[in-house]
């Protein structure tokens, strides 16, 4: 059964419910689907659960422990600090979506949802970059990461998106919880269209801060569903 046909059947089922509900109201003549718009959307939510799942890979890399892999850590961090910067890599397996998102579909919105458990005292901008090379959750380190060890690389201008986080008033994300503003629609559209999916790297917009500024993020290995990383894709 094709995705479109399954969607059609689902819509039919939903409309059946709607029709029944409206009929109970008794407004016979007012139910005229023929003159109404029908706007269907479909959404796939990929969640890093259980903690052992391979559907999601997330890991932090640390400049101060350049050769060490932290793939089993329960938190990741994005940090700007003198000789102790930290970055985060995360990837979602889009083939987990069932039915498969058709390559001909239009991706309307894709949102990266990651849970911030501790925020910096200053409002910091975190950049999202599409990784252009493969990495593994249990193998990546600061030293061998796809973007290399040069600080503030790649340039902020090549980022997919960004959000800011910190406790000061006016900061976009100023309390613990899932971040808002991490939109990755363009990248997901590319993945669905056939571009290789190596996930994303998150780093502070300005690394090597003289004062350490750290954002702590819950990792899938924490095993807490309410804080698990998610990717939500809405398409038509």
């Amino acid at each position: 059964m094709t995705g479109a046909r399954r969607l059609a059947l689902t819509v039919a089922g939903l409309l059946a419910v709607s029709g029944a509900m409206t009929l109970q109201v008794g407004a016979a003549a007012s139910l005229s689907v023929g003159s109404q718009q029908i706007t269907p959307y479909r959404s796939c939510t990929i969640t890093a659960t259980p903690s052992s799942t391979t559907a999601v890979a997330d890991v932090g890399v640390r400049e101060a422990s350049a050769g060490t892999n932290f793939g089993t850590a329960t938190t990741n961090a994005v940090s700007s600090a003198a000789a102790a910067n930290q970055r985060m890599y995360i990837r979602f397996d889009l083939t987990q979506c069932s039915p498969t998102i058709p390559s001909s579909s239009t991706i309307r919105l894709a949102t990266l949802r990651i849970y911030v458990s501790a925020l910096p005292a200053a409002c910091r901008t975190i950049d999202i970059f599409r990784s252009t090379a493969t990495w593994t959750e249990t193998g990546i380190t600061w030293t061998n990461q796809p973007f290399g060890t040069t600080l503030n690389n790649p340039a902020s201008g090549s980022r997919t998106g960004s959000f800011n986080v910190g406790t000061p008033a006016g900061c976009q994300n100023l309390a613990a919880g899932y971040v808002v503003g991490a939109t990755v629609t363009t990248d997901v559209a590319a993945f669905v269209g056939g571009t290789s999916n190596f996930g994303w790297m998150l780093r502070d917009d300005v690394e090597a801060s003289a004062t350490t500024r750290t954002t702590t993020l819950s990792a899938k290995n924490l095993g807490t569903l309410a804080q698990a990383p998610q990717l939500v894709i809405t398409y038509t």
Binding site: A16, V17, G19, A20, G26, I38, S43, T47
Partner: protein
């Protein structure tokens, strides 16, 4: 758009099924009127609607659909969430001005590695 035509056709089937379930003898849907509907069906938005699962324990209890444009105000939002073999559904009306709507699900599917959410706005 072939799949949308299929959806609209399915809508007609859905209404007939709905009528049958409700046994509303006072209402009749003719195939002619449904056919006419196929020609006039459009969308109230192409915007990127946000979809947020609200959990109760490890289950999806409701879904909040956001970024709904004002042009969809008054529409009926139907939501269906499928995780594994379990499907939960519900509906709500988009308020004036659009914005966000939370739809409580009749059945609460357990969160798995991925969930499928179908949204349909009917009207306005």
């Amino acid at each position: 758009m072939r799949w949308l035509r299929t959806v609209v056709s399915a809508a007609g089937i859905g209404i007939v099924v709905g009528a049958a379930v409700a046994f509303a003898a006072s209402i009749s849907f003719s195939s002619a009127s449904l056919g006419a509907g196929s020609a006039s069906t459009g969308r109230c938005t192409n915007a990127g609607l946000s979809v947020l699962q609200n959990l109760s324990g490890s289950n999806v209890a409701s879904v909040t659909v956001g970024s709904i444009p004002a042009g969809c105000a008054g529409a009926t939002l139907l939501v269906s969430v499928t995780a594994g073999a379990t499907t939960g559904s519900g509906s709500a009306t988009v308020p004036a001005g659009g914005g966000s709507v939370t739809v409580t699900l009749s059945t609460t599917p357990a969160v798995t590695a991925s969930e499928l959410t179908d949204l349909v706005l009917i009207g306005p």
